[in-house]
């Protein structure tokens, strides 16, 4: 690959890297804000429920994750993360082709067996009726998880870009050892 092409690719990668760094900074600020909101909501919940009512003593002895991470490899060494919630049901779509009314005869004769039990909502660890602040805390941390996946993808892309740039710089030095 000729030196001008390498330089052009290097410039492109550098611009991409700088863009990723800027995006990372923005997402980090939002994540930090969400987490801080979550702490504040937890503190309010603790105030409402009692000092020892929101903490490790309430953790369940058996936990199933509601949220999992799917990874995909766009290029070698470049990973992308996506948060997926377990038990998310897509709503039934009633298309325009169904002109007739659906009959409502009550429960079906052969009920469909549940493929997997939906994981228990961690809010249930803290009681049946939990204060609104605890739900707000859950929402804040859930948003934080989505941002965490985006940030992890960006960090991975930054590391990948850094390695690519280093590789190109080495090639360039070999092609133009005395270039200024």
């Amino acid at each position: 690959m000729a030196a001008p092409d390498l330089r052009a690719e290097l410039d492109s990668l550098l611009l991409q890297l700088l863009g990723d760094l800027e995006e990372l900074e923005g997402k980090r600020a939002v994540l930090n804000t969400r987490v801080e909101e979550g702490w504040l909501s937890l503190a309010k919940a603790r105030y409402a429920m009692g000092a020892k009512s929101v903490g490790p003593l309430q953790y369940a002895s058996h936990m199933e994750p509601q949220v999992c991470l799917h990874t995909s490899e766009a290029q070698e060494g470049l990973q992308k993360f996506k948060v997926v919630r377990a038990g998310v049901h897509t709503p039934e779509e009633v298309g325009p082709g169904e002109a007739a009314l659906r009959r409502r005869k009550g429960p079906a004769k052969t009920p469909e067996p549940q493929s997997s039990e939906a994981p228990q909502d961690p809010l249930n660890w803290f009681g049946i009726l939990v204060p609104h602040s605890l739900r707000q805390a859950q929402a804040s941390f859930r948003d934080g998880l989505q941002l965490a996946a985006d940030i992890a993808s960006l960090q991975n892309r930054i590391d990948w870009g850094r390695n690519q740039i280093r590789g190109l710089q080495k090639k360039l030095k070999q092609l133009e050892p005395g270039a200024a």
Binding site: L21, W39, L42, P56, Y59, H62, V67, Q79, A148, N156
Partner: protein, 147 residues
């Protein structure tokens, strides 16, 4: 684990871990150790390091021999506790002040999975200057490279 996806692990103070567990990332059953660690005042640095080490290392970790211990811990017990040894963890969330305690282990972790994300804590706001990823990115530009 095919089709199930990876987990998100968290190492942090009580509020951070409680919050993210509320978000639904926790896993705890009879067979596996938890994917979270609550760091308290009496939690030792060795415990944090043991839990964290090898979460992303494909080469595995080396348990240092402790001359005072006559009964070395079981390899299986250590491996199942260590996040880096587990291949089902995709992201590790860790409070930055805890990350500082095990900075050498974080800096040694070069793999893309699991990704390590440093987050602030209540008493210690996030400092970009201490973040391993950003320090690596900042250190790649020298005056000579930019000529």
């Amino acid at each position: 684990m095919a089709g199930r996806g990876k987990l998100i692990a968290v190492i942090g103070d009580e509020d951070t871990v409680t919050g993210f567990l509320l978000g639904g990332i926790g896993e705890l059953n009879k067979n596996r150790h938890p994917n979270f660690l609550v760091v308290e005042k009496d939690t030792t640095i060795n415990e944090i390091e043991d839990t964290f080490r090898s979460l992303g290392s494909l080469l595995g970790s080396v348990v240092e021999a402790k001359p005072n211990e006559h009964d070395p811990p079981l390899w299986d017990e250590i491996d199942s506790r260590q996040f880096l040894h587990r291949d089902d963890i995709g992201i590790i969330l860790i409070n930055q002040y805890i990350a500082e305690m095990v900075r050498h282990a974080l800096d040694a972790h070069q793999h893309s999975i699991p990704a390590v994300l440093e987050i602030p804590s209540k008493e210690h706001p996030y400092d970009a200057a201490k973040d391993s990823i950003l320090r690596r990115a900042r250190g790649m530009f020298t005056a000579e490279d930019l000529r």
